[in-house]
Amino acid sequence: MSKGERKKLIIGLAFISPWLLGFFIFYIYPFIASIYYSFTVYHIISPPEFIGLRNYVDLITRDPLFIISIKNTLYYAGISLPLGILMGIIIALLLNTRVKGMAFYRTIFFLPVVVPFAAHAILWKWILNPRYGIINYLIGLLGVKHPPGWFQVAGWAKPGLIIMALWASGQAIIIYLAGMQDIPKTLFEVADLDGANWFQKIKNITLPMISNVILFNLVMGLIQAFQFFTQPFIISKGTGRPMDSMLMYNLYLYKQAFKFFNMGYACAMAWLLFVAIILITLFVFKTSKNWVFYGGE
């Protein structure tokens, strides 16, 4: 290593040293501990006992709830992510038309993001109340005779959660909007000269130009969706019911750890999730080369 390189390394490390230090103190020990626990029976209060791979084997071969919680999480991520991206882009496109009162609309769409989770969950529990909720009343006005039971019944609980998530997707909207406003105006001018209609412009200019922003939101959305916890926790009062319909992966993990005291089992779940997220993220990055367009590179 040359002198210059070494100097650069030292300066670089110096700058990241606060985080590095935090990483060693707050992450390394808990990570190692939880990897070790995942190979043990660990009831939190009594010392862990080593059992090899049994937690992992049990999870995969004989725990129906593990499978159910994966299905729930995939259901939630599989619908809320594409819908969120679609809705976010459409709203950002509309906002990008330079309508009057832009600041007002931006605020309206962003405001749900700053509502704290607890308030958010309580609010939607009330709006989607099967008997007295305003949504079911409006649905009733449309002539529907059996409005859904939302969080009270198994089939409607997850759609309810997805609606909640979509309502609070303002952060993604703002980021899409930022991406769109970065697109050089000249591109559209050229397209206008070629006589392209608005749909062609969106398809051929806007979408490719914001594809890197879509990637960012997709990856962040993936991580958040796979760790979805607080809203189903508050709404189902920590149970994941009815009929395990709100039993998301992390909620089940939490129940195993703190309700049933199977910390070793929960740690095994955590590391399976970790590997899954890493693999999916890598996959997304790999395939993104086919659809993400980097202007400058």
């Binding site: 006992e49 529990k125 005779k145 039971g149 019944v153 149970t239 019911r241 009815p242 703190f258 049933f260």
Partner: protein, 459 residues
């Protein structure tokens, strides 16, 4: 470069501090304990710290308000400090795991206690019981059982949740029953009145019903009623698929089928659980004619349904034969001392004071039922004084005590802890939604809980 050097040195120093602190942790621990001990030698004020279930401010105000005042007045050198976390289980577990115990008193539910005892989280109270002359036979059996693992006592029974059936008198009268003595004593009576009460609107939405049997307390109760058992502590075997329990679940499923499961769920209300009194409880809103609940329910009825004309009857039994009252199941809660508690002796004094010596006073003040049998008369007298003998709930108190006198069954307490309750809820859901038959659901339940128990006891 000077600035960079200073910066690097700062980071280095900064980085060493936490390690030094971590290394000093144990020493500081000892020093801290000695300090604490020194403090205690002086006749200074001791603070007992208590973790309690969050019953909601309307109830907890009695605990950290009047009761604390009374206790501190009688014990000038002791202060009480209450914590009402939303998830007391998580809080207690974390405190035990941390090892630096700062709490003296733990609140517990039956399913929680054996699970942490199995893992060494509580101080045995046998010596304290013996020293103070408190006998296990002084308490309602069904609640005492939930405080013990084998011969060891780990908690004092706190409140006994004696359950009665609140009835909506107007609804009973409308379908031809005598509101003051409706004679609903057996499962046959329940079936008959359910059919009379059930009502659907023009679109087929259920709008009125009789008995709503969808929480696990109901299944445990009816399992016992049909002659079943849930757990055998001797062999540590779950007996959830006992044929009697299966029969009980089949019967509950029949009731649910009559109404339609989803229809029932839609009526349940967001905050209404078995003992959950809330303004959107179907009983308060007039959807159900019955609510199996304890006497604490009066307050919410008074506040949110002042016009509801209610009475209380005994929980029906299988055939209505009085001998079956022994199969009533009592829920409740207990209070123990965690391992490592800084003031175990003072904590015991507090336990004995609140749930033995003055348990009638505690019950009346905090709207609970006492577990000490000989305190019942005094308790009823206090309730009468407190509310006036004309108060509706004061008149109904004997109905609840009836359960304390007859009931012998308690909530199953297993080393699986809350896993038991959770799985039983799941079994009920599976059976009531017809994903499984009652038998299949309880078989699955038994198998899964057994695995968890074997794991907990290290088999």
């Amino acid at each position: 470069m000077k600035i960079l050097k200073i910066f690097l040195i700062m980071i280095l120093v900064f980085s060493l501090v936490p390690f030094l602190v971590l290394a000093r942790g144990d020493k500081a621990d000892k020093a801290g304990k000695e300090e604490k001990a020194a403090e205690e030698k002086a006749p200074e004020v001791i603070t007992l710290r208590i973790i309690w279930e969050n019953w909601g401010a309307d109830f907890t105000k009695y605990l950290d308000g009047e009761w604390t005042e009374k206790y501190e007045k009688d014990h000038p050198n002791i202060k009480l400090e209450w914590l009402f976390p939303a998830s007391w289980q998580e809080k207690e577990i974390a405190e035990l795991a941390g090892g630096d115990m700062t709490f003296d008193v733990f609140y517990m539910r039956p399913s929680f206690l054996p699970a942490i005892v199995e893992r060494g989280g509580l101080i045995p109270l046998n010596d304290y019981f013996a020293k103070s002359g408190v006998k296990t036979s002084d308490f309602v059996d069904a609640t005492m059982v939930t405080c013990m693992v084998g011969d060891q006592i780990y908690a004092i029974p706190g409140g006994a949740d004696f359950i009665g059936w609140f009835v909506n008198k107007d609804m009973l009268e409308a379908v031809g029953y005598d509101p003051d003595n409706p004679e609903i004593n057996s499962i046959e009576d329940i079936e008959v009145i359910n059919r009379r009460l059930a009502k659907w609107d023009d679109d087929g939405n259920l709008v009125q019903l009789g008995y709503m049997p969808i929480d696990f307390y109901q299944l445990i109760n009816w399992g016992y009623m049909f002659g079943g058992e849930w757990y055998d502590p001797e062999t540590q075997k779950v007996t959830g698929n006992d044929p009697a329990n299966v029969k009980a679940l089949e019967w509950l499923v029949e009731i649910v089928d009559y109404y339609g499961y989803e229809e029932l769920l839609k009526l349940r209300g967001e905050y209404a659980e078995w003992s959950g009194a809330s303004p959107d409880h179907p009983f308060i809103l007039g959807f159900t004619a019955f609510d199996s609940n304890g006497w604490w329910n009066y307050e919410i009825l008074q506040n949110y349904a002042p016009d509801l004309d209610y009475g209380v009857i005994n929980f029906p039994t299988l055939t209505g034969d009085p001998s079956e009252k022994a199969n009533w199941v009592v829920m409740g809660w207990s209070v123990g001392i965690p391992k490592g508690a800084p003031h175990p002796d003072e904590a015991w004094e507090f336990l004995k004071y609140s749930w033995y010596d003055f348990t009638a006073e505690f019950g009346a003040l905090t709207i609970n039922s006492p577990s000490v049998k000989k305190s019942f008369p005094r308790f009823e007298q206090l309730v009468n004084e407190q509310f006036g003998a004309d108060h509706r709930i004061a008149k109904l108190m004997p109905m609840f005590d009836e359960m304390g006198i007859h009931a012998t069954k308690s909530m199953p307490t297993t080393p699986a802890g809350e896993f038991f309750d959770t799985e039983l809820d799941r079994a009920m859901e599976a059976a009531m939604s017809h994903q499984m038959t009652a038998k299949e659901a309880l078989d699955t339940f038994t198998e899964r809980v057994q695995v968890q128990i074997d794991r907990a006891v290290g088999k």
